[in-house]
Amino acid sequence: MRILITSILFILLTPIAGGLLAGVDRVISARMQKRVGPSILQPFYDVLKLFQKENVVVNVSQNLYVFSFLFFTIFTGVLFFIGGDILLTVFSSTLAGIFFILGGYSTHSPYSFLGSERELISMVSDEPMVILMAIGMYMVTQSFLIRDIIAFNQPIIYYLPGVFIGYLFVLTIKMKKSPFDLSMSHHAHQEIVSGITTEFSGKSLALIEIAHWYENIFLLGTVFLFFAPKPILGVMMSLIIYLVEIFIDNTNARVKWQWLFKSSWFVALCAGAVNIFVLFINQS
């Protein structure tokens, strides 16, 4: 019963929270550029407008892919917030990402093709670190279940500082912020038009946007996990991390995919793997 209520609450409330976060992001970004910026509700207006636009469909299968992307993103979040298995959330979020990429490929536009390719590279770049995070949490708490990880008596960041730093690095990739927003251009830079979303319009684009809101909340939830026994600190830290991401987004130019790939694996190896190795030595 509790699981059902949590899931329903998550499904209903997350778009509101995610949309507001996106609005805050846009206002703060504007202020950083000495602009007034849009209203904080702007992301909602955008999405509602997109629902009223005509949906131009290039390939029928693209609708299915977008829907699956949204579905599995929500599934990931539900699994996370009911305290399920962290490995499963990692896999299902990857699956959601793959559906998104398939959607990009299915439209046959050269720009979305390029965007999909880059999205695939981003995924390959961030995956090792995400899996290392799951392994690290298991080594500390002896459980892959999120409810056990939360119930652990100390914030696990004490044991996993390296993993946390590595995870922050890939968080920028996951949230599609500069310098790692290769696959989908944000509003100002358009060298591959809109990348993976080029051929999506109207309702499909709105669904993609909503999926990103869910994804962001899930990602902030994983940051919370590092501080779980202290909920207030956890929420504060996830919000601070989000602000830091906005700051990074506004102060960095986009990098090439080679750099993205090398640097993220390097960080995963140096910060993540070394941290886990030390833990391993300690435990044995």
Binding site: R35, P38, L48, K49, Q190
Partner: protein
């Protein structure tokens, strides 16, 4: 209730403009005018755009491009001709390769005068365009 007024996304295309009008369009994005205040975004992708902003006259080479962009934009959509050239051909009208204003090719909803059009005028034009956009949306629903 329609949300077009709250979130118009535009695509800007440079026909055979002398770049005077283009610079004014870009000026609208700068902190001084900051059109993002109204939720306006410069998308660069016809499939995401509601408003097609054209500067400069239509010539023999870019007419296909303009038609292409126009037909890729999902309905409802609005075309705004910015500057004298886009409105009527302007100073370029006599050129051997010039067809004339944008309305020779696609239906234009709003004309923004000026050589170059001032950023204030462009913003005014976009706001006018929003009304047209909303009417188009209403009419489309009525037809259904």
């Amino acid at each position: 209730m329609s949300f077009f007024k709250k979130s118009p996304w535009l695509i800007h295309y440079d026909g055979s403009s002398c770049n005077g009008c283009d610079i004014e369009v870009l000026a609208c994005l700068t902190p001084v005018y900051d059109i993002e205040r109204f939720g306006i975004i410069n998308t660069g992708n016809p499939k995401h755009a509601d408003i097609f902003l054209i500067t400069g006259a239509v010539n023999e080479q870019n007419k296909e491009v303009i038609l292409n962009i126009y037909s890729q934009m999902p309905d409802p959509k609005v075309v705004i001709a910015v500057g004298a050239c886009a409105s009527s051909g302007g100073i370029c009208a006599e050129g051997y390769n010039i067809l004339g204003g944008v309305d020779k090719l696609i239906p234009v909803d709003v004309y923004v005068p000026g050589c170059a059009a001032r950023p204030e005028a462009i913003i005014d034009g976009v706001v006018k365009g929003l009304e047209v956009l909303e009417n188009k949306y209403r009419n489309k629903n009525k037809k259904k």
